[in-house]
Assembly symmetry: C2
Homo-oligomer: 119 residues x 2
């Protein structure tokens, strides 16, 4: 079993309360990553799909964020309630959850509908 079939990187970055960019894991408990890990294990995907903690993915204004490789599908505003749907639809069913995807016009944008333009 070389390579993970899918490798999910879930941002666990913390910033101080009130920071203008916000952050993905203000509580700092990696709750989303742990929940993905648990749900993947329950479906027998341990070792095939990895839910990895990551540092800042630099899409802070859209968080909590995660990205699924190798297909490079980005999600934003993910809550614990969304984890089952992402696992079922995307990870198992190869159908990304469109309502949670970050738009191409938002990813790495200097400014977008969620993010004031940097000056």
């Amino acid at each position: 079993m070389p390579q993970f079939e899918k490798h999910i990187f879930i941002c666990g970055n913390q910033r101080p309360a009130g920071h203008p960019r916000g952050c993905c894991d203000p509580v700092g408990q990696a709750g989303l990553q742990k929940l993905f890990k648990q749900k993947l294990a329950e479906r027998g995907l341990k070792g095939r799909v990895r839910a990895n903690q990551s540092g800042c993915l630099d899409q802070c204004e859209h968080g909590p964020n995660l990205v699924v490789y190798p297909e490079a599908v980005w999600y934003g505003g993910v809550t614990p309630d969304d984890v089952d749907e992402i696992v079922e639809s995307h990870i198992l069913g190869e159908k990304p959850v469109e309502r949670l995807r970050l738009k191409d016009s938002c990813i790495n944008a200097l400014g977008c509908e969620h993010k004031p333009r940097r000056v």
Copy 2:
């Protein structure tokens, strides 16, 4: 500029000294990730290629480890002296550094030449 052209995840996991699996960043200063970040910025790649801190990539016995997506090329035993070569050859030149690649027979293996078989 939607998506990163390449997204490098560099393991910054720490374990206590003497742990049988070892760890990728015993000092806990993210030195390798910071060096990649600096070298990428020097080459004008900021925003196009991201050097991301990551949690444990689960290839501990081969560390320090990193993985480059979307191509899913894994490297092990990476030192600060290797960073320029990876950036020049792989990131800029699209030619992975073969001498540092993790073998398919090592990635996620239950046991390999570097790793005692788990019982």
